[in-house]
């Protein structure tokens, strides 16, 4: 994908009213914004409205942008604030500390119990996954991934969406969600283990058909 110009150039062009530049960032960032919005609100339509509201706020707030974060981070923050307000109205926001994030991420029955000669080791290795060339349709795997993301507890979904889907670094995600590095890692770990488990389920089902 073509690189966006550096932030200072972007911001100057946007302030000058260059609509080609606006269309560029609009098309480049809206997909990620939609996914992020979807983590807070209950429907696709609602998410699209949150993204629209966000861009309107960006247009109106451009002259106030101070460049203390990147432009994209600033836009993402506006989105999370907008989406949280809306999620609250929809009674969907879970307080950032209320979900239980303890306990093992892999079913304990997959491991040998105490008293076994090899306690804590796999009974059976995780089943092999087909290589991508083995005909598993890309869009089917992607549908599985979307479903798995949708089933995650909210905080885990937010973290894995930002980190793995959007490719943000851990520091940015901690700042954006106002959580500690350790907390971020726990949420990411649980989310990734869940997604891996769902893919395992799917590949196992497909292999046995």
């Amino acid at each position: 994908m073509e690189e966006l110009p550096p932030d200072d150039v972007l911001v100057a062009r946007l302030r000058d009213g260059d609509d080609k530049t606006f269309a560029l960032v609009l098309d480049r960032w809206s997909g990620g914004l939609l996914r992020l919005a979807r983590s807070f609100v209950s429907t696709e339509a609602s998410a699209a409205e949150v993204v629209q509201e966000t861009w309107v706020a960006v247009i109106e707030g451009l002259d106030r942008f101070e460049g203390r974060s990147s432009l994209k981070t600033w836009v993402y923050r506006i989105l999370t604030n907008t989406a949280k307000r809306r999620g609250l109205r929809e009674h969907r926001v879970v307080p950032m500390s209320s979900v239980d994030d303890s306990g093992p991420t892999v079913d304990p029955s997959r491991f040998r119990p105490a008293g076994d000669p090899f306690p804590g080791h796999w009974w059976d290795f995780p089943p092999l996954w087909p290589t991508p060339e083995q005909g598993m349709l890309r869009h089917e795997v992607q549908a599985q991934l979307r479903t798995a993301l949708g089933e995650l507890p909210e905080r885990q979904r937010l973290v894995i969406t930002l980190r793995d889907v959007e490719g943000y670094g851990s520091e940015e995600v901690c700042a954006l969600l106002d959580i500690t590095a350790a907390n971020q890692r726990v949420l990411l770990h649980r989310a990734r283990a869940f997604v891996r488990g769902k893919l395992e389920e799917y590949y196992t089902q497909e292999a046995n058909r």
Binding site: F22, A23, L26, A48, V106, P108, W122, V141, H189
Partner: protein, 78 residues
Amino acid sequence: MNDLDCREFVEQVTAFLEHALDPEAEQRLVDHLALCDGCERYLDQVRRSVTDLRDLPADALPDETRAALLEAFRARTE
């Protein structure tokens, strides 16, 4: 096998991938990986899940929303 077991290994996979373990803990994981095909496979599958997530195509804004926003942007400077 060293003293780290598979049940512990799977819980440290993310910390390992984030380079968040102290050198000693990291070495235990590396040593375990060298001996355990099951955990090597588990780690690979986590990595592959992450790559597949990164490749998820993004949705696009509805056309009318996009048009309305471009309109709003143009109106800003008028």
